[in-house]
Amino acid sequence: MSKDVVGGKVGKGLQSLSTFGSGTTRLEVFAIIATAVIVIGGLELALRWFEVPLYILPPPSAIVKGLIKDFPLILPHLGHTLVVLLSGFAIGAGVGMFLAALITQFPFAEKIIAPYILILVTTPMLALVPLLILRFGFGYEPRIIAVALASGPMVMINSATGFRRVDANKIALARSYGASTLQIFWKVRAPMALPMILVGLMIGAIFGLLTAVGSEMVGGGFGLGNRLTTYSSMIRMPEFFGVVLILSFLGILIYVIFFLIGKKWASWET
């Protein structure tokens, strides 16, 4: 019973993730593009018509121009941010998945650890960055640690939900063929948990991006977050919004990547 309810929730979660981009007709595509043109074009016209100063909100054309002009300067910073995000996320997600798999095998230990995980999930890890900088300096380390701390618990809490969805009959099936504990894990528990793990990875990656940029704003001379503080202090708003544009693109990219992985490997759920 309760197992079905959980399954249903996960299914719905993935479904709402996938409403975007599934089964779009030509008319809908046209409507989407038309709306985008009207919104962006309208913004451009309105900002010019009311002569809104560049330092309050630059028109889209100025943002694109600024972005293109400064792109060679921004590119290395994008690279830095990606290094921080990818390495922090890899560490956090790896540890998170491992701990989730481990802990769900011991319900008693899980109950004891759960509150601490909740604290890790709910505390913004950005708060720790100044402290980490004191300890590790202005290099990559404090940022990578912050990203790992931000994404890991997210991945862990969702993966644990996935691993907890045990179906006694499926495990009995494997056991009836003489499966070992390890085989049961890889061939039954892990695939069953995969949809929830993917949800966790996606949320974890988005949290990681937030934390990467935030920690770059706090200290150190490189990264997209650093660009944001630099451009805003120089009141170069077109370039500032250009960087914001890159950040939204990164966020969407994360979403699309996990959406596609989910479509390929977890579509049985919906």
Binding site: N169, K170, A172, L173, A174, R175, S176, Y177, G178, A179, Q183, K187, V188, P191, M192, L194, W265, A266, W268, E269
Partner: protein, 261 residues
């Protein structure tokens, strides 16, 4: 032991008792299943049918008593015993063929493709190898799970209310399929059901189990030839047997109600 016309005893349950705390799910159950026969176990929900079958499969150990297969006690799952679950129990992330190959993967054993193909043909699932469970009807899923169980060529097949969730027509089709498969392979089958009709159509013997504690109340022989035609199934003899089994189960209802008062 029962070296009768139907062959030697292959699976023997001796004084099986299973306790969950103070509760006796099974108490002193004994029954013999002879080789190449079909034995059905009927009884109301909660009378310990699944518990008994899982003990026979070696999945769930007994509190006391034993299950003996061809002379050796069953203490854990054995390759010569196949199990078909109450629901098809396919792995939803695997397509039909990968579900059937699952046991071979676990055992690290090379599948007998020709035999699997033959089975798929037999249950009309050829052409659906790449389909995922959620694309198959309930009947197709259950047929796939039967193929999965038979793919390892077990000498004993344990089936736990395999068609309980199917509609009446599909169910009759499936019963005929089991009969056909039995006629071809002569696999020993223990078949759990709560349908007396299904039990009488398929079995050489029907075991009536009663609840609280789970006990064997009666064992009936069903000596009709196979295939069992509509004519046989609507005969007076089958009608009488049906009534006797019903009487067994109802007598338990009344006994329990009387005890409750």
């Amino acid at each position: 032991m029962g070296q009768g016309v139907l062959g030697a005893t292959t699976l023997s349950v001796k004084a099986a008792t299973k306790q969950y705390g103070d509760f006796h799910a099974l108490k002193d159950c004994s029954l013999d299943v002879r080789a190449k026969t079909i034995v059905s176990i009927v009884g109301p929900s909660g009378c310990g049918k699944t518990t008994l079958l899982w003990a026979m499969s070696g999945l769930n150990p007994l509190t006391s008593g034993e299950v003996i297969l061809d002379g050796t006690p069953i203490t854990r799952p054995r390759p010569e015993v196949g199990l078909v679950f109450q629901e098809a129990n396919l792995l939803p992330w695997r397509n039909l063929m990968d579900n059937i190959l699952f046991p071979f993967e676990i055992k690290g054993q090379k599948p007998d493709r020709a035999w699997i193909d033959h089975l798929l043909e037999r249950v009309s699932l050829k052409g659906f190898e790449k389909s995922f469970p959620n694309e198959l009807s309930g009947g197709m899923q259950q047929r796939a799970s039967i193929v999965r169980a038979l793919s390892l060529q077990p000498s004993v097949l344990l089936m736990d209310e395999p068609f309980g969730a199917l509609d009446a027509f599909t169910r009759e089709e499936m019963n005929q399929l089991v009969e056909e498969i039995w006629l071809e392979t002569k696999t020993t089958i223990v078949f759990i059901t709560h349908s007396i009709e299904e039990a009488l159509f398929l079995s050489d013997q029907v075991v009536v189990l009663t609840p609280r504690p789970g006990r064997v109340l009666n064992i009936y022989d069903v000596p009709f030839e196979r295939p069992r035609t509509l004519e046989i199934m609507s005969s007076k003899a089958v009608f009488d047997l049906t009534n006797r089994i019903k009487a067994d189960i109802y007598s338990q209802h009344t006994a329990r109600r009387a005890a409750a008062e």
